[in-house]
């Protein structure tokens, strides 16, 4: 099912305005995530209001932390499907869910946040858990 741009654009912009680079094609994913150097947050965006409605504000809060990944990128599940599929190939041990987040260090997954760890939580709580992961892996 293709979601109309009118619906998804605000969800994209809520992420990109944080300085997160959106990856819309497999080639872009390969070029950025495939480079695999340093620390990187990969956010799998979602149209789901139940969980993504908390995840995006949480990202905004968490990225204000002094300690954070060197780079943050996103793909949009259900919208940029090929790019999302390619991004997920970099954390293929983990089942697909959206929204979700992976922290990579030199190309290896060091922390993963599943959708079930986001659902029903306040953005502040999700952010606090993310910041703890940043401090553990990105310091």
């Amino acid at each position: 099912m293709a979601y109309p741009d009118l619906m998804t654009r605000p969800m994209r912009e809520e992420v990109t305005r944080l300085g997160i680079q959106e990856l819309k094609t497999p080639a872009e994913v390969d070029a950025v995530i495939g480079a695999g150097e340093g620390t990187m947050l990969v956010f799998v965006n979602s149209v789901c209001g139940c969980a993504a409605g908390g995840a995006r504000p949480a990202l905004s809060l968490a990225l204000q932390s002094q300690v954070k990944p060197a780079k943050s990128v996103s793909v949009f599940a259900g919208v940029d499907t090929e790019a999302t599929q390619r991004a997920r190939s970099f954390f293929s041990d983990y089942q697909p869910s959206s929204p979700s987040m992976a922290i990579l260090k030199d190309g290896e997954v060091v922390h993963f946040v599943h959708r079930h760890q986001i659902e029903g939580k306040h953005p502040q709580q999700i952010a606090a858990e993310l910041v703890a992961a940043f401090e553990k892996h990105c310091g």
């Binding site: 409605g53 089942q95 697909p96 869910s97 979700s100 079930h116 659902e119 029903g120 306040h122 953005p123």
Partner: protein, 90 residues
Amino acid sequence: MSGHVFHPGHDDLHGITVVLETATGKTVIGRWHERVEKGVVLHDAALHEPGSQQTRDDFVTRSLKFGVKPEHRTLVVTDELVSVRKLADL
């Protein structure tokens, strides 16, 4: 946001990943959609049946760590439920 139901008309568990245990010994993990007359509708659900090679505990533990394997895009659980818990609470 906690307890906030985004979609009007749905119940509090809508969109939440739950672990259902049935009176027949099955364990089902999936995203709660709604309760209907026949049972509970889950999306992206995985099912563990008694007698499976994988233990029930391993099934739940792996789902917690690696996520829920979406074996069924939509699954209606019609068996009587003996427990309903959020996966994140386990």
